[in-house]
């Protein structure tokens, strides 16, 4: 039941405003002493205080909402949350403004003017759904189903699953989001390839062990390109403060002196985009000084395996020892190593370390029949060989003694771990950086131990059979639905048998969508999330090759502020016949592109269960609801229903779209997740179901790989070798055939992907660029989540325009003062920002976060624009080749720019009072019922 609060807040504030003395009494006495304005107090009924969760960013922190007569008047963090402990950051608190913002759209809108103008006609939901369905069906009828495409937002946006599956339902392969290859996919997928399980991303809730306060063992944490105090302000930000207070040491690798770098024991201000060099210097130092965990590296990683120089793959025992009979099952191959016991090359079967027949040499070069084999460890060692601390200092701009101090902290700890942030995902080395970070934790044996980052939770992580990994969609769900994709860890025979059980026509249809997906031949890692390669989609829209996407259903946000090289997208909008958007507000994208916009619920209105916090799961509540807004999954669901009505049958895959079509389904889904019988039951007894808690002893699990499973062997890992594979063999197979994603069909081959971390100098390097001599990178600021909150007056008055963080020495050369407007230009365009002079960046580096300006199309402006050209760092970013080989990631970070004196764009607001038009005006809107 909602708690009732004794004193209504508004009446108290009113009272204290009326009589300052009363407030003073209140400070020391109980609330009952306070006299309230009787009439005013009467007008407010009881205040309800309900459980909910913030959805101001990915973290979804538990919170309480205070509701008076249906109006949410106050938000605060839930003190019972295990990591955020009552914190609620400003992005969450400012929902009080967003929810009731004059910028909310409460009804479907149809474009009434040209694209680029802010002229709209309010239409009914029926009309809106019909319009969308007519456009989709008629375009597909005319041009085929590949003319449809969808897009969604990145981390924190609501419609991942919906956006992936909407095109499937219409038999189109095309979907993208500005994150994906540029966010998390590389780290997520690489961990799966190398470790068979959850990754090292702290922002995406994979790394939670350091904040586990039951066992609480983390001695040392490396934040590699992550700043949890900013990107998860209330959650891991609080967690980091507690962790440091417990004495945990930290190293932060970050070109910017982030709040976490400020608190770090060692800060490594790496030159943007050169992390691979730094990683290799860590490897070299660790190998050279024998700081690695020898036993773990020998028996639980594939580094001792001899690699065939022709195939680059590990040699299987049967290849060199034809008569060798492996003691392990088919799904667990035996490989070959150089055995130090016999001083000879020997088969290396999988076993518990202590029962291994061999003592493998990690670093060895062997010539057999005139062919030279190196161990994977040897290959890594040679790759790292040039990376002395001094060389790393020269290339990566980090003093050698600092690197050494950092590695020592990392290697001296009993248990430590690397938490890997988003920066590398936005560089050409998107796959190489996580490969290196995973590899380091593996050679250190920081795996599945209490206190390290690579740990897996819950009893479900404790294997009873040989662990395997499913691919295609989250946890391989599409593989399970459509029967496409090999399960890594099954034997070839097992995979063949498994795949045969699926209906072949659905399998073929799905497989064709995979293979036809744009950009897939080159960047097969994208299969892990079923997304297209963004620059290739743009190219297809522009040229019609290999097919022309013509009807666009976008499910989130401001594409013009979030996509790399936004202008290149603006240029192809005229090529798209009809563009559908959905969002709680209009953004630059809607102004410039959308023909139809569906109004969405804000998070205070939308029931949901999302991220967990440690062993607890929380409710995002329907605290109120105004206008005709709907939950995120509903417009697409309704449009598909309409298409089906028009066509009789949808052309795509079944089940295709995975998303609720009605609010009742949304609510039942939430009730199910929290184990309540119904939504009504959940509402009536919220405290009984929220939070849903897994007992700590079940939740915190360790050493899963050592557990003996059904075949009598230790479980190992969900990889082909059943070991950690810092030498990532799967990448090689993937490049050659699309394995495991396209299995049983083979995808056309591309150049091999690098199986280990290799150094990549950014394509636009400040070294030798005299025209654009500085290197720009970015990172989160606590005021905004992606494109959101730019219309939250309390955020904008504090941070009205983007800081361009620049070293004072550089600024002096350029004649630029603190807070002076500057022009920042790259080879793609130029924008404005305000110089923030700080010793916190290298003199060769500038740092600037994404921005867009919704005030630019405020009614009060004489010169209206869509607000995405003025201060948007994505005017500068680079979306052309070279891409990351595996994932096709383009370059949002670590490219070159120049900075000059500039001027404030005349339609940008800076002064606090200028933001008055953004203050909430919709509090008197009546609360409304579900539309669908």
């Amino acid at each position: 039941m909602p708690e009732t609060v004794q004193l209504t807040r508004r009446s108290f504030i009113k009272a204290s405003a009326l009589a300052g003395a009363a407030a003073a009494i209140g400070a020391s006495m109980s609330g009952s002493l306070v006299e309230t304005d009787a009439a005013y107090a009467d007008s407010a009924t009881e205040t309800k205080k309900v459980h909910t969760s913030c959805h101001g960013c990915i973290q979804v922190c538990p919170a309480y909402a205070y509701i008076e007569n249906g109006v949410v008047t106050k938000l605060e963090g839930d003190p019972d949350a295990p990591t955020s402990k009552g914190s609620l950051c400003m992005k969450g608190l400012n929902q009080l403004h967003t929810m009731y913002s004059p910028r909310r759209i409460l009804h479907p809108l149809k474009r009434a003017g040209e694209r680029g103008t802010n002229d709209w006609e309010v239409i009914s939901w029926d009309e809106a759904i019909s319009l969308a369905a007519d456009q989709i069906t008629s375009t597909i009828d005319k041009y085929g189903s590949y003319s449809f495409f969808a897009s969604v937002g990145g981390g924190g946006s609501y419609s991942f699953m919906e956006a992936m599956t909407l095109p499937m339902a219409l038999n189109s392969p095309t979907v993208f989001e500005p994150g994906c290859a540029q966010c998390y996919l590389p780290r997520y997928a690489m961990a799966k390839f190398v470790y068979g399980a959850n990754d090292q991303s702290i922002a995406d809730n994979a790394v939670i062990e350091p904040f586990n306060e039951y066992t609480n063992k983390t001695e040392m944490l490396v934040l590699w390109a992550a700043q949890p105090s900013v990107s998860q302000t209330a959650e891991s930000g609080h967690g980091m403060a507690d962790l440091r207070a417990r004495g945990c040491k930290t190293v932060v690798v970050d070109p910017n002196f982030s709040p976490d770098a400020v608190k770090a024991d060692v800060w490594l201000p790496v030159r943007p985009g050169t992390d691979t060099g730094l990683l290799l210097s860590w490897f070299r130092y660790i190998f050279e000084n024998k700081l690695y965990d020898e036993k773990f590296t020998k028996y639980w990683t594939n580094l001792p395996f001899l690699i065939d120089p022709d195939t680059k793959l590990p040699v299987e025992a049967a290849e060199l020892f034809p008569s060798y009979v492996s003691p392990t099952p088919e799904n667990t191959p035996a490989y070959v190593c150089y055995d130090l016991r016999t001083n000879s090359v020997q088969p290396f079967p999988f076993s518990a370390p202590d029962s291994s027949p061999v003592d493998p040499d990690i670093f060895t070069t062997q010539t057999i029949d005139g062919k030279t084999y190196k161990s994977a460890g040897q290959i890594y060692k040679e790759q790292a060989e040039p990376w002395t601390l001094e060389h790393a200092e020269e290339v990566c701009w980090v003093p050698a003694d600092r690197i050494e101090a950092a590695v020592k902290l990392y290697t001296d700890a009993d248990v430590a771990g690397i938490a890997n942030g988003v920066a590398s995902d936005m560089t050409e080395s998107a796959s190489q950086v996580p490969l290196g970070c995973l590899g380091l934790d593996m050679v250190m044996g920081y795996v599945n131990k209490p206190g390290c980052t690579l740990t897996q939770r819950d009893l479900s992580s404790v294997p009873t059979v040989r662990p395997v990994a499913h691919y295609n969609g989250f946890d391989g769900m599409f593989s399970d639905i459509y029967g496409v994709g090999a399960v890594v860890g099954m034997s070839p025979a097992e995979n063949e048998a498994r795949i045969k059980a699926f209906p072949p026509d659905r399998q073929a249809q799905y497989n064709k969508l995979l293979v036809d997906r744009l950009g897939m031949k080159e960047h097969k890692g994208l299969y892990a999330w079923c997304h297209s390669h963004i620059p290739t989609v743009r190219e297809a829209i522009a040229t019609g090759e290999p097919f022309k996407p013509r009807v666009w259903f976008d499910m989130s946000g401001n594409k013009l502020a979030m996509l790399g090289n936004a202008k290149s997208w603006y240029e192809v909008f005229p090529e798209v016949d009809f563009i559908i958007g959905q969002y709680p507000m209009l953004t630059s994208f809607h102004i410039e592109a959308a023909d139809l916009v569906f109004p969405l619920r804000e998070w205070l209105e939308e029931p949901m269960v999302n991220m967990t916090q440690q062993n607890t799961t929380w409710l995002q509540n329907e605290c109120t609801h105004i206008g005709e807004t709907v939950s995120h999954s509903i417009p697409a669901g309704q449009v598909l229903d309409k298409c089906e009505e028009i066509w009789g049958k949808l052309p795509g895959l079944a089940p295709g779209y995975l998303g609720d079509h009605t609010e009742a389904d949304v609510k039942q889904g939430v009730a199910d997740s929290l184990k309540a019988a119904s939504w009504d039951e959940l509402m009536a007894n919220t405290d009984k179901y929220v939070p849903l808690v897994v007992p700590p002893k079940d939740f915190y699990q360790y050493y899963q790989h050592e557990v003996v499973v059904s075949d009598g062997l230790p479980a190992g890992f969900g990889t082909e070798s059943r070991k950690c594979e810092p030498y990532c063999t799967l990448l090689l197979k993937m490049a050659r055939t699309g394995y495991p994603f396209c299995y049983p069909v083979a995808q056309e081959a591309c150049d091999d992907y690098s199986p280990i971390c290799e150094f990549i100098e950014p394509a636009e390097s400040p070294v030798g660029d005299s025209e654009y001599p500085l290197v720009l990178t970015s990172g989160r600021v606590p005021y905004f989540h992606h494109g959101t909150m730019r219309h939250a007056a309390f955020a904008r008055e504090l941070y009205p325009a983007p800081d361009v963080r620049i070293n004072p020495a550089t600024a002096e050369e350029l004649g630029i003062e603190h807070m002076e407007w500057v022009k920042v230009s790259s080879r793609r365009g130029d924008i404005s920002g305000r110089a923030y002079l700080t010793e916190g960046v290298n003199p060769g580096v500038v740092w600037m976060e994404r921005f867009w300006n919704p005030e630019c199309f405020d009614e009060s402006q004489t010169h209206k624009t869509a607000g995405w050209r003025e201060c948007n760092v994505n005017i500068l970013t680079k979306n052309d080749a070279p891409f990351n080989e595996v994932f096709g990631s383009y370059t949002n970070r670590g490219f070159t720019v120049k900075v000059e004196k500039g001027a404030r764009p005349d339609n940008i607001w800076i002064e606090p009072k200028e933001f008055e038009p953004f203050l909430p005006t919709l509090r008197s809107e009546p609360t409304t019922k579900d539309v669908f």
Binding site: L7, F12, I13, S16, A17, L18, A19, G20, A23, A24, G26, A27, S28, M29, S30, G31, L33, V34, K74, L75, E76, G77, P79, K85, G86, S87, L88, C89, M90, L93, L96, S229, V230, T233, A234, G237, H238, A241, R244, A245, P259, D260, V262, K263, W267, R402, P782, A793, F794, A795, L798, T838, E839, G840, V841, N842, P843, P912, K913, E916
Partner: protein
């Protein structure tokens, strides 16, 4: 009794959440603040630098200059709680208190024509709740209570800190600011901002 905030700068990440929490809780106008967060540094030269943040609001001075200059008695220090407050019904908006406060932590409300500042959220603490900025602080850096009462959160935070980590804002005369900032030398050296 000396009620105040105690702020642990070893924890504070400068996220500005306390500023916004206060504004929502107390309906503070655009452009006005009852608290603000100021960056101290980075000091030093790249890359050998250090930094901390000062979340600033009324320091609840024992000898408050703002009270001494107030012509109407609107500004006063409650001798029982130690809290410095403004009786808005008496305030004539002359703003002398703003000039007299050594820390510049008062704000003039152009709508109601009175001066305002941190009240320590009596509307919450009277109900045994925490001030909004304390409740929502993203690093658990803020503590509220009577520093003379060893059982209060504020006093406990001070007791848990080592002596060389306890700081007050510099006091140009004899204001005796009560608010305590905790900053340990290993995080950054406290800068005497004079």
């Amino acid at each position: 009794m000396r009620n105040c905030l105690v702020i642990d700068l070893d924890r504070c990440s400068g996220c500005d959440t306390c500023v916004v929490a206060c504004k929502h809780e107390n309906n503070v106008d655009l452009g006005n603040y009852w608290n603000q967060v100021v960056a101290v540094g980075p000091s030093g030269t790249f890359p050998d630098i250090e930094q901390y943040w000062i979340p600033a609001q009324c320091q609840q001075c024992e000898n408050p200059q703002c009270v001494h200059v107030c012509p109407t008695g609107a500004s006063y220090r409650d001798s029982k709680t130690g809290v410095v407050l403004i009786d808005k019904s008496k305030c004539i908006g002359c703003q002398y208190c703003m000039m007299a406060c050594p820390y510049g932590v008062r704000t003039y409300n152009e709508t109601s024509h009175v001066v305002e500042k941190c009240t320590l959220c009596p509307q919450l603490t009277a109900n045994d709740e925490l001030p909004a900025c304390v409740h929502n602080c993203c690093t658990g850096a803020r503590f509220y209570g009577d520093i003379d009462d060893p059982t209060s959160d504020a006093a406990k935070a001070i007791a848990a800190a080592s002596a060389d980590s306890i700081h007050h804002l510099p006091d140009p005369g004899d204001s005796k600011p009560v608010t305590v900032y905790i900053l340990s030398p290993k995080v950054a050296a406290w800068k005497e901002l004079v």
